[in-house]
Amino acid sequence: MQATLNTTEPGKVTFPALDMLRSERNMIGAHIVMSLIALTFGIFMGPFQAFHRSPAFMASFAEFQIPVFSYYYQAVTVHGVMNALFFTTFFIIGFTYYVTQRSLQRAIKSVFLGWLGFGLMLVGLVLCVVTVSADPQDASVLYTFYPPLIAPPTYYIGLVLLIVGSWVATANVFITYLEWRKEHKGERSPLAVFATISNFIMWDIATIAVAIEVLGMLLPASLGLIKVTDPQLGRVLFWFFGHPLVYFWLVPAYISWYTMLPKQAGGKLFSDNLARVAFIMLLVFSIPVGVHHLFADPGVSEVSKFIQTILTLIVAVPSFMTAFNIGASLEYAGRQNGGKGLLGWIWKQKWNDPVVAAQLIAMLVFATGGMSGMINASAQLNIAVHNTSWVTGHFHTTLGTAVTLTFIGILYWLLPMIRGRKLFSTKAALWQVYSWGIGMTIFAASMGQAGLEGAPRRADLGNSPYLTDLAKNWLNLTAIGGAILLVSSILLFVNIIGTIFFSKQPVVEGAPIETRGNPNAPAILERWSFWIAVTVVLAIFAWGPVFVQAIDFNNGWNVLRYLPSGLQLK
């Protein structure tokens, strides 16, 4: 049954509650399905990497090779690029299109731009996968692609297409929003749209730096147009982008927690205003903190490191505000559901609804991620954990669980909407959610401990000559976590394929969308030109000196590019 487009006036659409319009189904469905294809490439590498890093596993299965992407660093490159860059971006854009048009009750402005952005990103994905498959030796430069390691040109072109495609998508959302504003003077936008706009503004500003790095340094070096690079400048450009990237992933998860979860849990949001303040803070403060990824770098001054540490503490504030706001909303929901006493509301959450459970587990794990994040952010403690497995443990609680499991929770209602059929198996979904929570807790905790014992990250450690016995034990435990996560990932894909191909029941629940903004929200919060100016000024203040120091004004770049297959080191 296909709902038809029912247009009353330009831009105005009547959306079916339990179904999608054909236009939505195609465009949003395409983005979500591509995100799942990217996730397939990415996610299944994870457990095998964990096995490969386990000394006990490699002692028992000396011949073990990672399937498909058999060179270890090739697998890590695919895992990082597909999970962290392509899965997230495709999913976020698809989800955002849906949230924007349903919240504003009007179609996304340009179908053409929608497909243009999608096409660019799709070609980008294909180029990256093909390059890493065909030329593992050269293309395995990981998702951070630090120079002077130089991959084949198609790898960088793929990345550029991803970024340009995402710019097209953000432009599409902006023009849709601006048209809505013109017709709704003096109104406040729904919270989800408000958050999206602030997130996309941040993304567009932040990606400029990585676009400059790729187009100005890496791609020309890869094409042979230039023979030299500046690795320190490359790292500075990358991390201008790299930290906002983290919030680009997190904000859509927050959108679900703030605007959907309260409803799904059976309550309402505690404070809309504070939510808006939190999103504005994320826009303003997520760029001027990236130097905390460069604490160990020789070319960045201690003063800049200190300034950005302080700013990092400020960017933690909106997350503390979120913890309170969502906590209070869940308490309200729990009491509505009959929870009594001080903690009774906790047991009265919908722990047996996979959409809710996924988000609750995501939040519980995120709390530990927040704590380990505070350790990373401390300039002095960071030195003890920098580039060890601790860091990888940390971001599998944040990106790998808080964000990913929330996206999975979203998928459990969005995919049925796209398909027009009920979720294939609620039971499998619940097992998937809880096994993810358990597997990730084991995995992340033991990665963290291995890191404290000196196990480096991004290293094929199964046969490593330098690990202590303690580090080896912890790495063996990460493989157990990985095995549980492998089961969880299989359950996820069983449900995806089941829902798409085998589910027969109709959808019974509508999307948790809020179509009205809070009329009492302070108007200043939605004056975007003002916030853009604040963001840019703060970014220049925090990053200006770092760039001035990183650029060699006297001699220019002088580090030869390095192509891993050798020979061309000229």
């Binding site: 160990a296 770098d297 891993p564």
Partner: protein, 164 residues
């Protein structure tokens, strides 16, 4: 915008905690003299011959103080002939109580320089000199580990420090 009472308490608690955290950071830097790597100077990786990295190794600069010049390359640290054969993981020896300042740079790609149990962690970026100082106060053997991805041999790039 009106704040709920509990919300106010919560935000105050957050502000106090972050304030204490900042105070600890400042104390760490000023009172305990904990320092992060900071710029030492640039170096042209193609012209190392005219620098101290032409002959890596350890120099005693008086009393218990040492300087160690180390050159990182794919996939070994070169710490001079006294530290063992070229290309093999080097072994650096110092007496207990030594204060050692490490100067490290790279000839090819980015490497890492991490010393177990001693809070020294440097990104060894070609084109830059990385520096870090450590007081070795207890005997033992500690690995130097390359903790930045540097290509196919990254996981076998290490060295040893023996304090005796």
């Amino acid at each position: 915008m009106v704040l709920n009472r509990l919300e106010k308490y919560w935000l105050t608690a957050v502000a106090v905690a972050l304030g204490a955290y900042t105070a600890a950071l400042i104390a760490g830097a000023l009172v305990f003299g904990i320092h992060l790597p900071s710029p030492v100077g640039r170096i042209d990786p193609q012209k190392l011959d005219s620098t101290a990295f032409a002959q890596p190794g350890i120099h005693n600069i008086g009393g218990n103080r040492y300087e160690a010049y180390i050159l990182a390359k794919m996939w070994a640290y070169d710490a001079g002939p006294d530290a063992g054969p070229v290309g093999a993981p080097p072994t650096l020896r110092f007496p207990v109580g030594s204060e050692v300042t490490f100067y490290v740079t790279s000839k090819d790609v980015i490497h890492g320089f991490y010393i177990e149990e001693h809070s020294l962690s440097l990104e060894v970026v070609p084109g830059q000199i990385a520096r870090g100082t450590i007081n070795f106060n207890r005997p033992g053997t500690f690995h130097i580990i390359c903790h930045e991805f540097c290509g196919a041999g990254h996981q076998i790039m290490y060295g040893q420090i023996v304090i005796e």
